[in-house]
Amino acid sequence: MEEHSVPMTEAMYYVLLSLLRPGHGYAVMQRVRERSGGRVVMGPGTLYGVLTRMRQDGWIIPDADDGRRKVYRLTQRGRRELLCEYRRLEHLVEDGAFLKGENADV
């Protein structure tokens, strides 16, 4: 399995998922909330920090300027990182699959 260049936080994972379709910051926030069923609510400061870091790392690039807002899209590298993270999470879930049905209090 390919290794991540940096450890990925929940916020990073959801941002990458949301940017499978190009979008601006506010749209990303709404998509994250929708995709996580309201479980993950990103703050604008957190999102801006994540977007800046990802842009510096070459995971996303500005695609267009929607007037006042920048529209971002995933790069090949960003897509690769997202897939790696997905596979890593998949492995984690598979490894703990025997817990399914166990008492949640344990």
Binding site: T9, G25, M42, G43, P44, G45, T46, R68, R69
Partner: protein, 384 residues
Amino acid sequence: MFDFTFRPTPPLWAVEECEAYYEKMAGKGWLLRRRGALLDLYRRSEPQALRYRLEFTPVKLGGGAPPLPEEQLELYRDCGWALAAKRGEVYVFRAPEDNDVPEIYSEDGGRAAMLAGLKKHYRGDVLGVAVGVGWMLLSAALKNVNLFSWKSLAEADLLLASLFILWSLLMWRSVFGLFMTRRLIREIKRYGVRRGQSRKKRRLVHRTVTAVLAAVLLLCLFGAGAEGLMRTSSPLPDTVEGVPYLLGEEVFNAQRDTEARQVSAGLQTNSVKHASTLFAPVQYHTYERLLTDDGGWGFLYQHVYVTWNRSLAGKLARSLAEDSFFSSAEDFRQVDIPGLDLALTTEEGLELIAVKGDTAVYAIYSGLGDDASARLLEAYADLP
């Protein structure tokens, strides 16, 4: 009634308390309009339940603080965070309390990273004050002035002391702010953002030390004003009584040369300057030129310091010897003069130092005869 009010600006290092204070004021119907260095401006409105959050941009060394990118501000606006006030690298945002506007930082790490901007702000302040103090010490060293000698203390006016206290005040606030911000960042990283935490003790320490330093600063400034009023310069009188300096005219039975002449300090006439400082509240600095029998002329400079007590006068005398104009401390030798607590002269006979009670005198003279030292010292001993 006024529709605006001013309140002291809450310190930045207590970020959460600062935010809570703005929320409390909004609840009372006062909305923050401008954040100042010392005072914040509030405008009257309806009481509102608002959330306030502070944001800092990292200060760049020598380049000030770059503004928050427009894209970031737009994102905040889209989410419901309006810019309430801005000052330098400090941005204050507000949002209604009872709706689903998300927190600006949904992860503690993001807030801790943002606070690094505040840490840089305080670090820049510490550096600025340190550079100021360093520059002053360096310039004093280059001029061969020992700032920490008794002579410097006796001659330093309170304006200089005010400058040092002002620097101490700025340094205290910056160092305290830096220390508290580092602590806050560590706490957020370890335990997360904890709102409503009481920092009363720390605030009390901060306020007490700041208040004491500010009070001392004010006193010094008042004192400096008084010193300035007491500093006078006048022609040397023909006779004196009850003052701790001598008239060379009387000591040497010589005629005073009244013409203004060019000397190293500029065009000078016979004069006496009166000054007052904290360590030497009464000071006289005289210049007198005398005509000699052989048709030439001599001069006498006197620096007379009336200090608070005998001990201080003794310390000042040793410091005067170390900082003397023509000689070093080793060149002075002690002589016994009845009536004087301490009498020092040099081989060349150009300088002398005398101490009597709480008064120290440093005199420079030339062209007044071979026995000038002895005559001057005996005259000082005879002074009341």
